[in-house]
């Protein structure tokens, strides 16, 4: 069972209202903790008891909807599954980094959703559909395990140094999405999908710094999928008897 985390905790929250604030600042609130209390619980306590103008996203409070990803003590985490008992007595909370701030802890995730669109983020089977389900062995189905678990919280996207610098780089979650279809035995868009991600601003741009894997609250390792996409893209190039396009090999 959970260890009680009794006592007080200082919650330091980055605040920003574009209508009134020239720049973001921090407000600190002291709150009383209770056993099992999460960062999301603490934010509600601040909202209800200290400052009704605080803004943050929430929905499932059970780590499946991806709403409450934020920057907690130096890394992206889901507020709902981050227990105060695992934190220091001062908890610093900001919005996900490198995304436009709408207000306080709420970021504009449109850049994230738009980049997903770059990888054709939906299933495609060109051959005629069977009358019943596609037959897929349990082992083939396993090939997409964990890649399908992405909750689109945006943590990896906000924490990837390549998405900060290359506007054409789709980002880790988009590659995971692409992999999810490429490795799915039912999908028939493989070579097109590989071409879309196997380019200069695609998987070859990844610096394998594992920021995405470090930041994923669902323990998905996007770097691993990116490496597999590189392998598959290379294999496809060889099969098609043409050398990798310029600039791919040395990046």
């Amino acid at each position: 069972m959970l260890k009680p985390a009794l006592g007080k905790v200082q919650i330091r929250i980055q605040r920003f209202d574009p209508e009134t604030d020239p720049a973001p600042h921090y407000d600190t609130f002291e709150i009383l903790t209770k056993p099992g209390m999460t960062v999301l619980d603490a934010l509600f306590r601040v909202l209800e008891e200290k400052d009704g103008s605080l803004a943050f996203r929430y929905s499932c409070r059970s780590a499946v909807c991806g709403s409450c990803a934020m920057f907690i003590n130096g890394r992206p985490r889901l507020a709902c599954e981050t227990r105060l008992s695992t934190m220091d007595s001062i908890v610093t909370i900001g919005p996900l980094p490198h995304l436009p701030v709408v207000r306080d802890l709420i970021v504009d995730l449109q850049p994230y959703y738009q980049k997903l669109d770059m990888v054709k983020p939906y299933f495609e089977a060109r051959e005629s559909y069977p009358e019943k389900e596609f037959i897929q062995t349990p082992k083939d189905r396993e090939a997409i395990d964990t890649a399908i678990d992405c909750i689109d919280c945006g943590a990896c996207f906000s924490f990837c140094p390549l998405t900060w610098t290359d506007p054409k780089y789709p980002g880790p979650a988009a590659f995971v999405k692409s992999y999810r279809f490429i490795a799915d035995t039912r999908d028939t868009g493989k070579s097109e999908r590989l071409k879309a991600v196997g380019c200069e601003d695609g998987v070859w741009r990844c610096h394998t710094v594992f920021s995405c894997a470090d930041s994923c609250p669902k323990s998905i390792n996007p770097t691993n999928f990116i490496q597999q996409l590189k392998r598959k893209a290379t294999k496809l190039s060889i099969l098609q008897l043409r050398p990798p396009q310029s600039g791919q090999a040395d990046r």
């Binding site: 909202l47 008891e49 103008s53 059970s62 306080d104």
Partner: protein, 565 residues
């Protein structure tokens, strides 16, 4: 002002499935309080029912058997014509999701895998590990993206404008800017989900505040069977976060403080896989009679399933238990308690998804058709979203396609918008001091203490009085925080007003039903009474208390019989 043919309110599974269908016929958009991927459908774990007959031992399953189980599970309150639609169309809807890429778990033959669920005669629940809702939601969203259906996400709908029995427009507040707008539409589909958050103990998402039901109720539409609230037997203690029925479907035991598998006493045949209402009450009785662990919870024991099975079949369950209860089910039992789980009642509509307002349709948990009657079977709610979402989309889309726009001028809509803006502005004014978070907690506690698994006339009367008091105090609300952008204080106040209206409907509907049926158990009326109460409750809004009427249950094939487990 925005103008579209069809507006779908709600971006969960029902809403997206409706929009996908409607977009085939008419210009369709989704207006949702959260981004579709944040919807509560994604929290569904165990699976979705259809008589596919994919498993050894289920080859002779068929829709009629699925229908019978559903009707029996409903304690014969379900409308049998609606259930027929649900169960007949089930295989087609699930195969469609598979064809759209949903990663279902597989049998050795490579077909969609199915597992046993409570109250079902066959292993009929199709699953994708224990994250079925998540995978279905993502798959539906991918199809919405593919069809470039426009989504107005993070818009909170504040009212429906109905004139002469026809839907005219929808008023909504853009959460991210704080501006209200009119959405003109020929047809509107309500797919806004359940109202679990009116209960202090609930497995629901915090956005499940029943606002869609409340706006329909305020627009004059009846709410049906609201006294029927499903309590899930296995919510984690103390958070209320759901542990799937699949955990028992895979063979998990329920054990009290003495180490007894107590379900042997309550449902000797079905044991842990008895219907949800039966298991919930059994757990509550164990705790009430002093056999709970620490007098608060009981144990769900998965240890005998072994590490491999837990990791392959119930990986999400294990993660949730570790994250939120601090126990690894491979080594320790999970502390669980019953908690509110599903709103069986909702907006009154028929199997063509039509409400009493022309052009207004409904689907999913916000609505009551009724396929769940007095108790829903696990695996039937995801199914309901797809089957009735599709029908609602088809109906609304073809309706909108075939009518010409009414010739009304924009200025009339503008007037309606101005009065809505005035209503909302009222929340910022005044000098009272009632704190909404105090009212909210008092409401949620009252509902969880007095309108829970076991009910009495006395307790319901107390709850009714308390809800009335809270509604009065709500009128003396402190002014809310004045900022425009992302005003949580405002949204939560609007939601609280809605939840109080729904609480009032529940506590008005429950006392009149002097019988025990499905999830509605009266200690003072322990038997089902088909002579008086084989009928649906309909609650209408009046200036005073809700007006209660009744309507007939549609019985086609299966005559009511005693429900034994």
């Amino acid at each position: 002002m925005f103008t579209h043919d069809v507006i779908v309110i709600g971006g969960g599974l029902a809403g997206m499935r409706a929009a996908i269908e409607s977009s085939r016929y008419a210009d369709t958009v989704i207006v949702s309080r959260v981004h579709p991927l944040r919807s509560h459908s994604g929290a569904a774990q165990g699976g979705i029912n259809a008589a596919l007959g994919n498993m050894e031992g289920s080859r002779d399953d068929n829709w009629e058997k699925h229908a019978y189980d559903t009707i029996k599970g409903s304690d014969f309150l379900a409308d049998q014509d609606s259930v027929e639609v649900l169960t007949k169309e089930a295989p087609e809807r699930i195969i469609e999701m598979e064809h759209w890429g949903c990663p279902f778990s597989r049998t050795d033959e490579g077909k969609i895998a199915q597992r046993s669920f409570g109250g079902a005669g066959y292993p009929r629940t199709c699953y994708a590990a224990d994250k079925t809702g998540h995978y279905l939601l993502v798959t539906a969203y991918e199809q919405v993206v593919k069809r470039t259906i426009k989504v107005y996400d993070e818009w909170f709908v504040t009212s429906l404008i109905v004139e002469n029995g026809k839907i005219k427009s929808v008023m909504a507040l853009d959460i991210l800017t704080g501006d209200s707008e009119v959405f003109k539409a020929k047809a509107v589909i309500l797919a806004t989900g359940g109202a679990g958050w009116i209960y202090a103990k609930s497995t629901n998402s915090m956005i499940d505040t029943g606002s869609g039901m409340a706006i329909a109720y305020k627009a004059g539409i009846a709410l049906e069977d609201m006294e029927f609230v499903q309590f899930h037997p296995t919510a984690m203690y103390p958070t209320g976060i759901l542990i799937t029925e699949g955990a028992r479907g895979e063979g998990g035991y329920l054990v009290n403080s003495r180490g007894e598998r107590f379900m042997q006493r309550y449902a000797p045949k079905a044991l842990e896989l008895a219907p949800r209402d039966v298991v919930s009450r059994s757990i509550q009785t164990e705790t009430d009679e002093g056999r709970g662990v620490k007098d608060a919870f009981i144990h769900l024991d998965l240890r005998h399933l072994g590490k491999e099975k837990i990791l392959s079949r119930l990986p999400g369950t294990r993660d949730l238990a570790i994250e939120f209860s601090g126990v690894d089910p491979i080594n320790e039992p999970i502390p669980i308690q019953p908690a509110q789980h599903y709103t069986m009642g909702g907006v009154d509509y028929n199997a063509k998804c039509e409400t009493s307002v022309k052009g207004l349709y409904a689907a999913g948990e916000c609505a009551c058709v009724s396929v769940h009657g007095a108790n829903r079977l696990g695996g039937n709610s995801l199914l309901e979203t797809l089957v009735f979402g599709k029908i609602a989309g088809e109906q609304a889309g073809t309706f909108a396609k075939n009518i010409s726009p009414d010739g009304r001028k924009d200025v009339e809509f503008q007037q309606a918008l101005t009065s809505e803006q005035d209503r909302i502005r009222h929340f910022f004014e005044g000098s009272c001091d009632e704190d909404p978070s105090v009212l909210r907690e008092e409401m949620r506690t009252t509902m969880a203490e007095k309108v829970f698994l076991f009910r009495t006339k006395q307790q319901l009367a107390e709850a009714s009085e308390k809800v009335g008091e809270l509604q009065k105090r709500f009128n003396h609300f402190r002014p809310i925080a004045g900022h425009k952008i992302c005003n949580l204080d405002l949204i939560r106040a609007l939601e609280l007003e809605d939840m109080l209206a729904l609480s009032e409907v529940i506590v008005a509907s429950a006392p009149s039903r002097e019988e025990s049926r499905g999830s509605h158990v009266r200690l003072d009326f322990p038997k089902r009474n088909d002579v008086r109460f084989l009928k649906h409750t309909l609650a209408y809004r009046t200036l005073d208390r809700p007006r209660i009427e009744y309507s007939e249950v549609k019985i086609t094939k299966f005559q009511p019989e005693e429900r034994k487990c």
